[in-house]
Each structure stands twice: as C-alpha cells, then as structure tokens.
C-alpha cells in the first residue's frame, strides 16, 4: 500500500484565503501571507504512477482550467520549515472534518472506477507565512482555533 498526497490550489487568487487573511489582520494578527489548498491523501494499491495520472485528470478533484496540483507537500514547497532566501517562517495547518471523505471515496470507486483506492482523507491545507522573529506555531494554532476551524466538527494537524 502506498500513500499519495495530492495538493490542489487555484491558479487565480483565492478569495477565501484573501477574506480570511483580511479578517485576521483586522482582528490584530500579524503575519505575511495566507494560502489555501485542497488536500487529499489516498492509500493506493499498486500502479501508483498510473493512478497519479488518472486522478489528476478527473474533473472532480482538478479542473485544469483553474487548478494547479502537486503530489506532495514537499514538492509544493509547503514543508513546515524555515524557507530559504526569505525572512518568512511557514506553518502548514491541515483542517479536516471529523467524518472524513466517505462520499468522495465512493464516487471515485463506484462511479469512476478507482478500485485501487483503499482509503481517502481530505481536508483544507492552510499555509501561513510569519515573520521569523515571532512564535509562529503558537500564533498559527491560535488562528486555526479562532477562525479556520470549529472544533465541534473539525480537527487540525500541523504538517
């Protein structure tokens, strides 16, 4: 079994991320930038490269006209570490609903023939860019709990 992570974001500016960023700024949070992407994690049995090609061509997850995608958080430059050549510190927060992904999994398996997917998780991946001098992780968690998630039906992970 191989795990495949897929990150899908908009080619154009993301209005949801911009609204969230402006709201947080108004509430006094100091940070540089906020990005948002759809996150999918598949447990897949064999033929991984064929799976990647097929899954990226389903209009359900990726619309080539408006989305860009990547198959790992590393490739997407979203790793939770200090970025090179900048003064930013990046924090990735994944928000997931507590009941996760079953509808999409049955669509992919039953309607689109992805029988080799054994498990699917989905969520929203938020990437926050902070000044290096501040305690980024602490503020990221505060922002997450205050705005990005409702803990009564969602949970978060720092990636």
């Amino acid at each position: 079994m191989t795990t495949v992570e897929m990150i899908v974001s908009l080619k154009v500016p993301d209005n949801v991320a911009i609204t969230a960023f402006n709201t947080l700024k108004r509430r006094g949070y100091k940070f540089k930038k906020l990005e948002r992407a759809d996150y999918y994690k598949f447990d897949v049995k064999d033929k991984i490269e064929i799976f990647k090609e097929k899954i990226s061509n389903t209009d359900i997850l990726v619309n080539a006209n408006k989305n860009k995608f990547s198959f790992s958080i590393n490739n997407n430059n979203n790793k939770n570490k200090k970025t090179k050549k900048t003064n930013f510190k990046k924090i990735n927060v994944l928000i997931q609903d507590l009941d996760n992904g079953s509808g999409l999994l049955s669509t992919l398996k039953d309607r689109l023939g992805f029988t080799n997917i054994k498990k699917l998780e989905k969520g929203i991946l938020w990437t926050m860019y902070f000044d290096k001098k501040i305690n980024a992780k602490k503020i990221a968690i505060e922002i997450t709990k205050n705005l990005l998630m409702n803990e009564h039906y969602q949970e978060y992970k720092i990636l």
């Binding site: 949801v16 705005l147 039906y153």
Partner: protein, 258 residues
C-alpha cells in the same frame, strides 16, 4: 406606545434581509436594514435580526467571517441587557460562531456543521415541521402553545447543530434552551431523515441563550408567515404559524424593553 424598532443586519452575501424586514413590519414593528459597516447607532434600536443568506459567500465556513466583524462586538453589547436578537439560517450560523448561542461560556460551544443527509450532500431545501418544545419561555415563542407545530422551509448546507461536548446538549435540555425541534406532521420527534433534515443532534432546529433573548433558528420563519407561502394550502393572505416568531419578538419588546 411607540412601535418596536428592529435593525435587520445586512452582511455582504445575505439575501433574506428584505423579506425579514417585511415580516417585522407585518406584525407592527418598524424595521430597517442596516449594513454591516454602518456608522448608525445600534443603541437606538430595540431589537436585532441577522437574516439568512450567504454572508461573505460562506468563505472559510458559514457565518464565521461575519461573526468576526466589529458590528458583532457592538451587537453583543446591545443584547447583554435583554434586547432580543434573532439569527435566521445564516444568521443562526453567525450567532453560533460568535458564541452568543448557546452562550453558557465565553467561547464557541457548538457548531452548525455540514448536513448529514442520506440523499443529498451540500445545500438542501425542503419543507419540514418543527414544534415548540417548552411553551412560552423566550422572546420568540410567546404566541406558541407547547408542542405547537410550524410548517416551515429549511434551505442550508451547514445546518446541523452539533457539539463535541455531550454534556452540553443535556444542559441545554435542562435549561429549556432548545426552543424548536424537527418533528413529523403529528409532532412526533424522529431523528431519521427526512423528519430531521440535516442530522442535527436531538433534532434541534432552534436554540436560545439562557436568558431567552437571543435565538438561532435554522428554518426560515419569514418564508412561512402567510398561507400563500405554504405549499398545499389555500393561497390567501391569512397569517401562517411562522409569523408568530416575529409577533412574539414584538410582544417581548413591548413588555421588557420599551
């Protein structure tokens, strides 16, 4: 006595503000639509309604961005001493995200989570029944008898009252804060779809704060206020059950606020 004066708060993306204002006028109140960035003094109003719609396009999740607007800080101040505040659908989502509902602690104690519905994922529209659980115990159920049924529409994608704190629901029941519950045509409470259209815990359709002056309701009473709005009913201008929520608000203001 002067007419109660209601501010219907409008956030970008709301779409029920006019019919909500009209229902206030229909029961004999004055009502005005106030934009979220208005400089107008809210203290000159006797009560407030946050109408349905899609404030801020439901960005991030329904109601959360409006809940963080400065006007909501002012509203919290205004309702502290008993002025009524009604949140309908998207307005209910705003009230839950501010923590005003259920309002037992100074934080967000519940969610209006995405519907759980065996047939449809996402947005769901239907006529349902709700019933008044407690008799007259808040600003919005004065004119309802205990167990009185209202035929009323729901139209939402995120309308499932839920909480991770199981003890909270028992507390809400004990405090009589659960005002309306989804039920069948005979008033029987059944947790299964379609009686419960969104999977809400304990069939909750509306919750008030402990004081009873703030209520979040997911169905739309402004769309169930006259017979001509109700399906399979004579299309006349007789008042239907939903309008009594607005009438109760008026009565409450006349007795407690003005």
């Amino acid at each position: 006595m002067s007419k109660p004066k209601i501010a219907v708060l409008y956030f970008p993306g709301n779409n029920c503000e006019e019919e909500t204002r009209d229902r206030c006028i229909d029961v004999g109140m004055e009502a005005k639509i106030i934009r979220w960035n208005s400089k107008e003094k809210l203290s000159s109003y006797d009560g407030f309604i946050i109408p349905g719609g899609f404030s801020y396009e439901d960005r991030v999740r329904a109601g959360i961005i409006a809940a963080k607007e400065k006007i909501m800080d002012k509203i919290q101040e205004e309702v502290k001493d008993g002025k009524p505040l009604l949140g309908i659908c998207n307005g209910a989502q705003v009230l839950v995200e501010t923590g005003l509902i259920p309002g037992l602690k100074n934080n967000v104690e519940m969610a209006l989570a995405p519907n759980i519905n065996p047939l449809v994922s996402g947005y769901y529209c239907a006529w349902v029944n709700i019933k008044n659980i407690n008799g007259k115990n808040c600003a919005f159920n004065y004119y309802y008898n205990k167990n009185e049924i209202i035929k009323i529409p729901v139209a939402h994608g995120e309308g499932r009252f839920t909480t991770k704190n199981k003890a909270l629901v028992k507390k809400l029941e004990k405090n009589k804060q659960i005002i309306f519950k989804y039920c069948d045509n005979n008033g029987k409470i059944n947790e299964k779809y379609p009686i419960n259209p969104n999977g809400a815990v304990n069939n909750i359709a509306a919750i008030s704060n402990k004081q009873g002056n703030v209520m979040a309701i997911m169905p739309h009473p402004e769309r169930a206020s006259f017979n001509w709005q109700i399906p399979n009913t004579k299309k006349d201008s007789e008042k239907a059950n939903g309008i009594k929520i607005f009438g109760s608000m008026k009565k409450y203001i006349e007795e407690k606020i003005i």
